[in-house]
Each structure stands twice: as structure tokens, then as C-alpha cells.
């Protein structure tokens, strides 16, 4: 299962075998149950996760208890509550396995140690951040300019796995609409 991660990394940066061994040695394996939280509200985000199997979601809960999902990470994707990971402040976001999930994770400390040990890791992290930025700005923009139907169609185009694989409740929490509205959109499309 480290092969999946190794191949992901090789697609991004050039490293020799010794360097790859060093990188992989910092990652640990963990199995998560469905609905298991890996980060609670107010806890500092000390780990970055690479999904081997299953799905992680990153979400907020507002004062009325309404959940809003910012991101789903499926197989072969990285995920963390990145603001807290960067700032080391308590996280506003929570993180949860929404299916039985297997991950490899690296601690904040070791992630930043790699930045000092391996110049290529700066490039790896830079591209990680570029992708995260593009992703999040597209999400932000969808809240600015798109109505519910446009958002749903865009999601089907860009990321259909979310609609295909996850419950209506989760999809609605991602689009920022009610489950009733989502059902109407699904019927209309």
C-alpha cells in the first residue's frame, strides 16, 4: 500500500530510492471505522492523511448544528485541515472517515522536517498547496456566483464520484443546499 503513495509522489517530484525510503519512513498506517473522527473541532491539525481506501471529509459545524462540507478526499488523494496544519492554531474544521477507510499519515513535525532534509519536498509541498488553493478558490467562487442547479451540474462535470458514491446528506452539505433541494435537482437534471 506504500506503493500507491510512492507512485503518487513520483508523479510530482524526482527522488532516488534512498530519498523515497526516507519519505515513506515518516508515514504510518491507520484503519478508520465509518464515521470515525480523526480531527475534532478546536484540536490542532497535526497530521496530513493520504487515502489508500475509502473517503475522508473535511467539514464545519455552525452554531445551529448545520454541517457544511469543504472537501472529500478519495483513494490516492491527500487531505488535512490545512489552515490549522499551516498555522498550528486550533482547527475550525473537523475531519471524519465517511466510509471504512485506510490511510497513511505523516505528522506535522515530520512533514516540516522533510522540508529541511529534502529540497524536492519544498516542491512537493508547493504543488500540494497550489492544488489546494485552486480547489478552495473554485469552491469559494461557486458560493459567489452559482445558483444551486449550476453548482450541481458543475459538480457532476468536475467531480461526479461525490454524487455517485456518497449519500444525499453529504452531497447536500457539500453544495450548501438542503436535501430536499438536492432531490429536486436530481429529478430535474
Amino acid at each position: 500500500m506504500e506503493e500507491l503513495l510512492a507512485s503518487y509522489i513520483k508523479n510530482v517530484i524526482s527522488v532516488n530510492d534512498t530519498e523515497m525510503q526516507l519519505i515513506l519512513s515518516f508515514f504510518k498506517f491507520k484503519k478508520l471505522k465509518k464515521n470515525e473522527l480523526v480531527l475534532h473541532h478546536g484540536e490542532a491539525s497535526q497530521r496530513t492523511f493520504f487515502v489508500i481506501k475509502g473517503c475522508l471529509r473535511i467539514f464545519y459545524i455552525d452554531e445551529q448544528g448545520v454541517e457544511s462540507t469543504r472537501y472529500f478526499a478519495f483513494e490516492n488523494q491527500f487531505a488535512t485541515a490545512l489552515v490549522s496544519f499551516i498555522t498550528a492554531k486550533p482547527s475550525e474544521e473537523l475531519m471524519q472517515a465517511v466510509e471504512p477507510t485506510e490511510v497513511l499519515y505523516i505528522s506535522h513535525e515530520n512533514f516540516y522536517r522533510l522540508l529541511e532534509l529534502l529540497p524536492q519536498w519544498e516542491k512537493f509541498y508547493r504543488i500540494y498547496l497550489e492544488n489546494a488553493y485552486v480547489n478552495n478558490t473554485n469552491r469559494l467562487q461557486s458560493f459567489f456566483v452559482q445558483d444551486a442547479l449550476t453548482k450541481y451540474r458543475y459538480l457532476l462535470e468536475e467531480n461526479p464520484i461525490i454524487v455517485q458514491r456518497l449519500s444525499n446528506k453529504l452531497v447536500a452539505s457539500y453544495l450548501g443546499i438542503s436535501q430536499a433541494t438536492l432531490s429536486r435537482l436530481k429529478a430535474k437534471k
Copy 2:
């Protein structure tokens, strides 16, 4: 005026005089009139700007012509339509001087050339991206969980210069509320 930029850079990374001269040699000076657009919708974002004086804003216009502002950059801040800068795709965002403004800018080509020439520039860009990510995620979150009054109070706490220095029209476009609502909030606070 290059001193402002040099001092900004020195606060982020360690470079010697020769390296600093190399970095600064890639930046060019430009004066912008109030309301001048530096990036149109659909144009690729080929420059990153450092504000010496004045203010740049980054915004969307939806199909109804409603403007939503994502970001204001004042003196001593960097700004670009970063998604387009990263992806080299046409920009959804526009960029405009909202006051008479002076900037130093670097082209996309030279910015990425610096990544190859100077290992420290990877670190500079990484920290640039970290800040941009934190900023944008906080903006995204404010759309998820905050009502208009909470958003306004948060803005006064975190970034009062926006309210103090810019018109109600611009502030409203940043908060995603109408000018009438903003006036009510200002009276209430």
C-alpha cells in the same frame, strides 16, 4: 520603492545581496489610475503584483452583473488572480486598482524562472501560498457559517482597514451583502 519589496522579502527568506539584486531585477514598476483594470475576465493572469501605494482588488462579476470581491491588497501586500496564475487558464477573476495605485510586478515566466534559479524562492512561494490558502479558506468559511452581522464584526476585528478606507459599495461586495444591509449593520454595531 524597491526597498519596501526587499524588506518584505527579507522578512520571509534569507538571501544575500547578489540574490536580492537578481530577484529585484525581475520586477517592473507601474502606476495605475483609479478603477484601472489590470486583469480582464477571461485573460490569463500573467503577473503577480506587489502594492507600493494604493489598493488592488480581485473580484468576480456574475451573469447578472453583480460584483463579488474576494480580496483587497493594500500597501506591502502581494496580489494576483492566483488560480489563473497557477493553472495558466483564463481567469474567472478580474483585478482592478480601486485607488491611484503604484505597484511592482513580476511576470509568470520570471516568477517560475526564479523557482529554478533560487532554492529559497521555493520557500518564498510556499509561504506565499500558505498565506493565500489560509486567507481564502477563512473567506470560504465565512460564507458557510456566518450571518451578515457576524461577518461584519469579524471583518472589523481582522481587517478594519477595508471598512475604514473603502466605499460601502466595495465593502458590501466583499461581505456578499447589499449596501442597504451594510448601512443597517454599521448603524447597529
